[in-house]
């Protein structure tokens, strides 16, 4: 008797399963979405329930420039990925650096906004419900931007020192999934905080 007496499975020569990095990242994104969903629900529920000023309409301004920067960084990282697959490392580094700069502009913009809110308008986490929910939701998103930028920076360092090769395209693609998620969440946060909540 030998193993050959067992009927063979159909088409097992081309036995191919999805890349575990992609599946892992998608799972992580599902978990993160659930966290954001809870914060968004809390924000929506508490709109207009603050007992004392400042209220959103008085102090919030639409961060249009920030938003354009962050959303266009999704496009630049896609261009970077495409360059990596072609093996054009210099182009890849350029687009990746631009992605990081755009993300950085967004963070600085958020910092300027928060400085104005804290020192000019006197809005902190403990001022009222608006402050509590606003800083939590926007801060949660900003912390994700920080994590994303850190990882992109690590990749850029590998890229500039020549350690990154075309065969790492799958890993970079996984990271870019996360970055697209961070951008996508901003669309939700922007809508909830600056349009619905104002």
């Amino acid at each position: 008797m030998s193993a050959t007496t067992i009927p063979l499975a159909h088409g097992r020569e081309d036995w191919k399963l999805p890349y575990h990095g992609t599946v892992g990242m998608v799972s992580l994104i599902v978990a993160e979405s659930a966290i954001f969903a809870i914060f968004v629900i809390a924000y929506l529920y508490y709109i207009g329930k603050s007992l004392n000023p400042p209220y959103p309409r008085q102090v919030l301004e639409l961060p249009i420039f920030n938003t354009v920067c962050l959303l266009s960084s999704s496009f630049t990282i896609w261009l970077a990925e495409r360059a990596l697959k072609k093996g054009a490392m210099a182009v890849f580094n350029l687009w990746l650096a631009l992605t990081i700069i755009l993300g950085g502009i967004f963070l600085v913009g958020t910092g300027i906004e928060w400085q104005k809110l804290i020192y000019h308008d006197g809005l902190t986490v403990s001022t009222n419900l608006f402050g509590t929910t606003f800083y939590s939701l926007v801060g949660l998103h900003a912390s994700h931007v920080v994590v994303g930028l850190t990882m992109l920076l690590v990749v850029l360092i590998f890229g500039i020192t020549g350690k990154l090769k075309t065969e790492h395209a799958r890993q970079v693609e996984t990271l870019s999934l996360y970055w697209h998620f961070v951008d996508g969440v901003w669309v939700v946060v922007f809508t909830v905080v600056y349009i619905v909540g104002r």
Binding site: M1, S2, A3, T5, I6, P7, L8, A9, R12, W15, L17, P18, Y19, H20, V23, G24, S27, L28, V30, A31, E32, A34, I35, A37, I38, F39, A42, Y45, Y46, K49, S50, L51, V125, S126, N128, L129, T132, T133, S136, L140
Partner: protein, 564 residues
């Protein structure tokens, strides 16, 4: 036994495991730095057994206090801390690590993989979970904090606001509670991501999703549920921490916040959590019952569909914990109906287990005894669950000992029983030694008797109006003798668990050698030596059916002929 039941020796790796060498310090070091799924799985399980003992000891303390009326064994403050720690420990430090430990050990072996998809994430998840346990119990020392009030958390395991807010819970005990659950929550989410990636991407050749062992399938469902249930808990804990440390107002009614929102967020996590814990118990029954009935599982596709169904339905039932909070009739009706709907897929499962045993050649080894008891007890637990899902009945009995009896019937009668069965079934694989069957029978019968003495009778003081979370009660309300019986049952279970722990230690050193396949089983973990080598399989297995070892043992009549 090995050679007679394994006709194709060449297909199975029977290399004896390598000798353990090195000083004890080197060995300890190898465990601390390991990324091997088997070692991490054993560490998770050992961690869970330790906290089972701690949480069990806390339960015994509670039952001593409640055995007679007007007892002064524990002060009210200590009682509150002990029952908070009992609940938190059993759910987060015992239950979750136990299910993840079994998944870690078994899923890669069952799907013919050499490790999890992300071995280092696996180690990270374990150590985050360990940090969670450390933070939780450090509160006994550090919880006093600067304000000099409080020790261990005393806010109950569901920690309703505003009791958990700074104004009513001074000191740092609640902070330790929240931080501990955030830390272990990250660990749990990491483990879930890992299990999903492993089951989807690491299956050996030929193992399509519909040939995957049911244990792996159920863990895939559980991990998906963890992603969307533990995350809301983490979010709520972050909000609580913002409230307590930064002066936020999420659950602060004086600033317009809604304490009920905490209740919603907590139970959005809390109810699916019960299914997160019970589905792995189902998973164990799905593996043990067929092997000891000598029949393939009845209705494999129905089992898969029912598990996925439970996963989805369980996400929409949370507010049945909140009928007494006051909701509209439409909301009440929705949560009554959605809760009752869970009975359909679980009923399918119970029928399938019975149909698997029906006409089988049943061997009542200890593992099987635990699983048979599970099927019956889970049915009872489900029936009291249906009773409690009816809103008017719930208004009457909410927060009474009837509820306590109901969920302990699920948690102990179903989950703990199945996991004990799992221990007897897979301990030989993990250590190479069989657990002693004679001690096992003592363990089973004592635990069964103790369980029924304790939790069957516990329903009655609940029906007579005894509320939960009280540290003592007056004599003459008709609760006295029932409480004494419940406490005696608790003690009997304690003795049974001591026998179990003794059995594990005894068998580890003096037990009978198990060989690779002591139960004549059919899934891939039995196709390698016990304990398996670090690489699991010398050559990558190829499967053609749901029972690859059956095919190997019976090449004249393989399963693959009948499937598809």
């Amino acid at each position: 036994m090995a050679d007679s039941t394994l006709p194709i020796g060449s297909a199975i790796d029977l290399t004896p495991p390598g000798e353990v060498y090195g000083t004890w310090r080197e060995q300890l070091h190898s465990w601390v730095v390991t990324v091997d799924h088997k070692k991490l799985g054993i560490m998770y399980i050992a961690y869970a057994v330790f906290f089972l003992a701690v949480g069990g000891a806390e339960a015994i303390l509670l039952r001593i206090q409640l055995a007679v009326p007007h007892n002064n064994f524990l002060s009210p403050e200590v009682f509150n801390r002990i029952f908070t720690m009992h609940g938190t420990t059993m759910v987060f430090l015992m239950g979750m690590p136990l299910i993840i430990g079994f998944a870690n050990y078994l899923v890669p072996l069952m799907i013919g993989a050499r490790d999890m998809a992300f071995p280092r994430l696996n180690a990270f998840s374990f150590w985050m979970t360990a940090l969670g346990g450390l933070l939780m119990y450090y509160s006994f020392i550090g919880g006093v904090g600067l304000q000099g009030a409080g020790s261990a958390p005393d806010i109950t395991w569901w920690a309703y606001a505003p009791l958990s807010e700074r104004a009513f819970s001074r000191g740092h005990s609640t902070d330790y509670w929240a931080l501990s659950l955030i830390a272990s929550g990250f660990g749990t989410i990491g483990a879930a991501v890992n299990i999903i990636a492993t089951t989807i991407c690491m299956r050996c050749k030929g193992m399509t999703l519909m040939r995957m062992p049911l244990l792996a399938w159920l863990y895939l469902v559980v991990s998906g549920m963890i992603l969307v249930t533990i995350s809301p808990l983490t979010a709520a804990q972050i909000m609580l921490t913002v409230d307590r440390y930064l002066g936020g107002h999420f659950f602060d009614s004086q600033a317009g916040g809604m304490p009920v929102m905490w209740a919603h967020f907590f139970w959005i996590f809390g109810h699916p959590e019960v299914y997160v814990l019970v589905l792995p118990a189902f998973a164990i029954a799905n593996e043990v019952i067929p092997v000891f009935s000598r029949k393939a599982i009845f209705g494999y596709p129905a089992m898969v569909a029912a598990s996925v169904g439970i996963g989805f339905i369980s996400l929409s039932v949370w507010a049945h914990h909140m009928f007494t909070v006051g909701m509209t009739s439409a909301q009440n009706a929705f949560f009554v109906l959605s809760t009752e709907l869970v009975g359909v897929p679980t009923g399918i499962k119970i029928f399938n287990w019975i149909a698997t045993m029906w006409g089988g050649k049943i061997r009542f080894a200890t593992a099987m005894l635990f699983c048979v008891a599970f099927v019956i007890q889970f049915l009872f637990a489900g029936l009291t669950g249906i009773m409690l899902s009816i809103a008017p009945w719930n208004w009457q009995l909410h927060n009474s000992y009837f509820v306590i009896a109901h969920f302990h019937y699920v948690l102990v009668g179903a989950i703990v029983f199945c996991f004990f069965g799992g221990f007897y079934y897979w301990f030989p694989k993990m250590t190479g030694k069989l657990l002693d069957e004679r001690l096992g029978k003592w363990h089973f019968w004592l635990f069964l008797i103790g369980f029924h003495v304790c939790f069957d009778t516990m329903h009655i003081p609940g029906l007579l109006g005894m509320p939960r979370s009280i540290y003592t009660y007056e004599p003459g309300r008709g609760w006295d003798s029932w409480n004494m019986i419940v406490s005696i049952g608790g003690f009997i279970q304690g003795i049974a668990v001591i026998i179990f722990v003794y059995n594990m230690v005894y068998s580890l050193f003096k037990g009978q050698d198990a060989g690779p396949d002591p139960w004549d089983a059919w899934t891939l973990e039995w196709a390698t030596s016990s304990p398996p080598p670090e690489y699991n399989f010398a050559s990558e297995p190829v499967v053609a059916s749901r029972r690859p070892l059956w095919d190997l043992k019976h090449p004249e009549d393989p399963d693959s002929r009948y499937e598809e």
